[in-house]
């Protein structure tokens, strides 16, 4: 089952666009957080009485980033050319892009968590 999935992952195309999926998820979550707080405060004047939307958005962002990180992790292990995997071949380029995506996913998870933490502590709109 997982093996099949990994086969599928390896067949996916890796481009500079897939590389920026995790940081884009982080940026979207950042924007979402600000919009959510601003709209809530402007409309109701109260801060966290139903943060379900916020935690839903946060979970969605984390899901996208983790999924992209997992795919990248599998792709970065694609068998092919010999180590040290730094030649200009297709397989080495794939490994490089996938590994960079994986590192960005790690950073983006931390970014999203740090952005979301204040909601646990803030209690009103001031």
């Amino acid at each position: 089952m997982i093996g099949r999935l990994h086969q599928r992952f390896r067949a996916l195309r890796v481009t500079l666009w897939t590389l920026i999926v995790p940081p884009t998820g982080w940026a979207a979550h950042f924007l979402f957080s600000y919009l959510w707080a601003a709209v809530r405060c402007a409309k109701t004047g109260r801060y966290v009485d139903a943060p379900a939307i916020f935690w839903g958005g946060t979970a969605a962002a984390l899901l996208v980033i983790l999924a992209s990180g997992w795919i990248a992790w599998v792709q970065a292990r694609t068998p092919g050319d010999h180590p040290p995997h730094e030649a200009g071949t297709d397989s080495d380029r794939l490994r490089f892009l996938a590994y960079a995506t994986l590192l960005l996913a790690g950073l983006s998870v931390i970014g999203v968590v740090f952005t979301a933490l204040p909601v646990l502590f803030l209690r009103d709109c001031r």
Partner: protein, 326 residues
Amino acid sequence: MRAGTSRRGRLAIVLGTMALGGCNHHQSVFAAFGEEAAGINYITLVMVAGGMIVAAGVAGLMIWAVRARPGALSLRGGERLILIAGGLIPALVLAALLVFSLPYMRPRGVAPADLRIDVTGEQFWWRVAYRPSDGTAVVSANEIRIPVGRTVLFRLAGGDVVHSFWIPGLAGKMDMIPGRTNDLPVRATRAGRFRGQCTEFCGLSHALMAFDVVAMPAEAFDRWLAAQRRPAVASADPGAALFLRHGCGGCHAIRGTAATGTIGPDFTHLAQRATIGAGTLPNNEAARLRFLREPAAVKPGARMPAYPQLPETEARAIARYLGTLQ
């Protein structure tokens, strides 16, 4: 000049200035007289200490890395070191410092019975209105008094342009924006005379837009506020009539007289204030005379006309009269 001594001399000046900075007791976060500023002071210390520990750790690792024999780490070991020391530990340390600091962002709770003080930033002075819970208002300017040990809510607004309200020893700073109000709840912990300052560039005399803050024991404050409600005592002083005749009352109010202007600071109890011109000059007769003669010479861009044409005796009489407004 010999380079050695001058360098040492310069170092002494730098260190001496830094040490003397610690002597600032009237306008400094490090001389806190309020709970909010004490909290800011504390998290600053913890953050600086945390940063120093991290810096020391990084420096230690760098020394080790420079001294280590080639091959001291296996490929696996090196990768693990980067993952743990370069990724996990920094993320956890930063998360811990973040979680530690976040509760300090919660503003203090305010009850309806708490004293509210409306402060409006004007070019280049402060309009102040005390609003106790009984609904009345006591108008003043350029000096703010607060009771020790009670919650006070500052409601801040901008009268013309954006200003920023900062009493470093009491709380963090907050912007004063035309068209909206910002709330800053505070609680003073010790009595004394302190200083606040505008911290958003607002025009030529921005740097001369300061104010005195007097924290008083609660009972003394209540007595003071009750006395502030009184209008000025009717005065036969020739200065009183001159003040009205020359139109000062079109901009400055003295409650209980025909002077009801609200364009400039309220003068009902002017003589109680320690400074004039929003913390710029001491409040004495010579300084008042100088200010009313040519405000822009004291505060460039000040929004008060100059009175060079006033006869000297009349200008003096007005300056003296303002000193009787207890």
